[in-house]
């Protein structure tokens, strides 16, 4: 134990000695600035009248020139604290955080994705998760890998969206696949209600002719 402590103490001492001149230098620079300020404000000094150009030059000379360097700033730290009475087992698995938990990814979606998509909504991960205030849309599509659009925004492929939980409202649902006719339907979602939609995409006759 003692043999370990000695090299550690020596290491700390070395770090301290190396760090000291840097601190001392920074203190010096700040103190010299203070001194210069004091000089300019020293009462009793009589100076002759200066021309405006000289005044500007003198003022510029007083501004300390900063060396270009990388500055590291610590931004606002957001910490969310919540309370959950226990883990919640919904129909789609286990959610470790309660409704007031910390979701560090939320601001990323809101700040980065929304401006890129403009007026279209963005359906990020968890957009279709179960919620007691939502209604369910059960989608069956043929082909299963058809692309699903809700209100014009891409939501995912049909095989991954067999069950979508959406807020109450009216939505334009579009299911489309390559070389197939698109399926469009206006869907109305109410909380606690389940809506079953079967989208069978017919073959696109116009493309077949070509």
């Amino acid at each position: 134990m003692r043999s370990d402590a000695l090299p550690l103490a020596a290491l700390l001492l070395g770090v301290g000695l190396l760090a000291y001149p840097a601190n001392a230098q920074s203190n010096e620079s700040s103190s010299s600035n203070d001194a210069r300020q004091n000089d300019s404000n020293t009462p009793g000094q009589v100076k002759g009248p200066r021309s405006p150009a000289e005044e500007t030059a003198a003022r510029d000379a007083e501004i300390p020139v900063e060396k270009s360097k990388i500055r590291w700033h610590l931004g606002t730290i957001s910490v969310g604290v919540g309370y959950s009475s226990g883990p919640y087992y919904g129909p789609y698995g286990f959610y470790p955080y309660g409704p007031y938990g910390l979701y560090p990814g939320d601001w990323v979606y809101s700040s980065l994705w929304y401006p890129m998509w403009g007026g279209y909504p963005y359906y990020g991960p968890g957009s279709f998760n179960y919620n007691s205030g939502r209604g369910e849309v059960r989608l069956t599509a043929d082909p299963k890998v058809a692309e699903v659009y809700i209100d014009g925004a891409y939501a995912g492929t049909a095989d991954r969206l067999k069950s979508m939980w959406l807020d109450p409202g009216a939505y334009d649902l579009t299911v489309s696949a390559k070389d197939r006719e698109s399926f469009h339907q206006r869907v109305y979602v109410l909380s606690g209600k389940s809506l079953k939609i079967t989208a069978k995409l017919g073959s696109d006759g116009t493309k077949e002719k070509l």
């Binding site: 109450p168 579009t174 206006r186 109305y188 909380s191």
Partner: protein, 228 residues
């Protein structure tokens, strides 16, 4: 953005506009295609009374709880626009003097929201438990106790709920209003055939009771007898 993505965006956008644009339902080719129809002064009126089962299939909202729903199609006279207003429609139960006027989507949605919010939910959950208890020491006597199988059974009864009831929130009301409005008979000036659903609230459908739909078309009253 690739060419394919552009095309997809254009198609989806057009589809969204096409779906959101027109209101009501698609009228049949001619008024004669409706089993119950009449033509007066060149104006044709066709009616289909929806059964409760049909209403349940057609609407996500529980309209069958409060209303009698009829699909009404209007065919204006040639080169003459027709003013369509819900105030011109009424439903009369045979043998009574009272008639019910057609209600707006907003009114029906409010009524449905209130109905969904009323009432009480009672949940009954039976519970059955089977377990095994290992041997231990009795804390009072200090003696060794025997283990064995344990069985339990019970019933949990829950009244009410912490969350909002299905279909009772303001968002639900707004969604119901949109649905009823978009599927409803479009109001205003019509120079081409129009059709849509008309809602008559508070009408009880008694078996054997005859129903009549009265509508006023350009000042003329038209009565259509509906099948029992």
């Amino acid at each position: 953005m690739s060419r394919r993505t552009w095309w997809t965006a254009v198609v989806v956008g057009c589809a969204a506009l096409a779906v959101a644009g027109p209101k009501g339902t698609v009228p049949r080719a001619t008024v004669e295609r409706y089993r119950i129809h009449t033509v007066r002064d060149g104006i044709g009126v066709g009616v289909v009374l929806l059964s409760q089962e049909q209403v349940r299939k057609t609407f996500v909202s529980d309209v069958d709880r409060c209303c009698v729903v009829a699909e009404i199609a209007l065919y204006p006279a040639k080169d003459k626009a027709l003013e369509v207003s819900l105030n011109d429609f009424a439903l009369r139960t045979g043998g009574t003097e009272t008639a019910t006027k057609a209600a707006s989507a907003k009114l029906v949605a409010m009524s449905l929201q209130r109905k969904a919010g009323s009432g009480r939910d009672i949940t009954v959950s039976p519970t059955v438990g089977v377990g095994y208890e290992s041997a231990g020491y009795d804390p009072i006597t200090g003696g060794r106790t025997g283990g064995g199988m344990t069985r339990s059974a019970g019933v949990m009864v829950g009244v009410g709920g912490s969350g909002p009831k299905a279909g009772s929130t303001d968002k639900d009301r707004a969604a119901m209003e949109i649905e009823l409005d978009e599927k409803g008979l479009p109001e205003g000036s019509a120079s081409a055939p129009v059709s849509g659903y008309v809602y008559f609230p508070g009408v009880s459908r008694k078996k054997g009771a005859a129903l009549q739909i009265e509508c006023v078309m350009n000042g003329n009253k038209v009565v259509l007898n509906l099948p029992q």
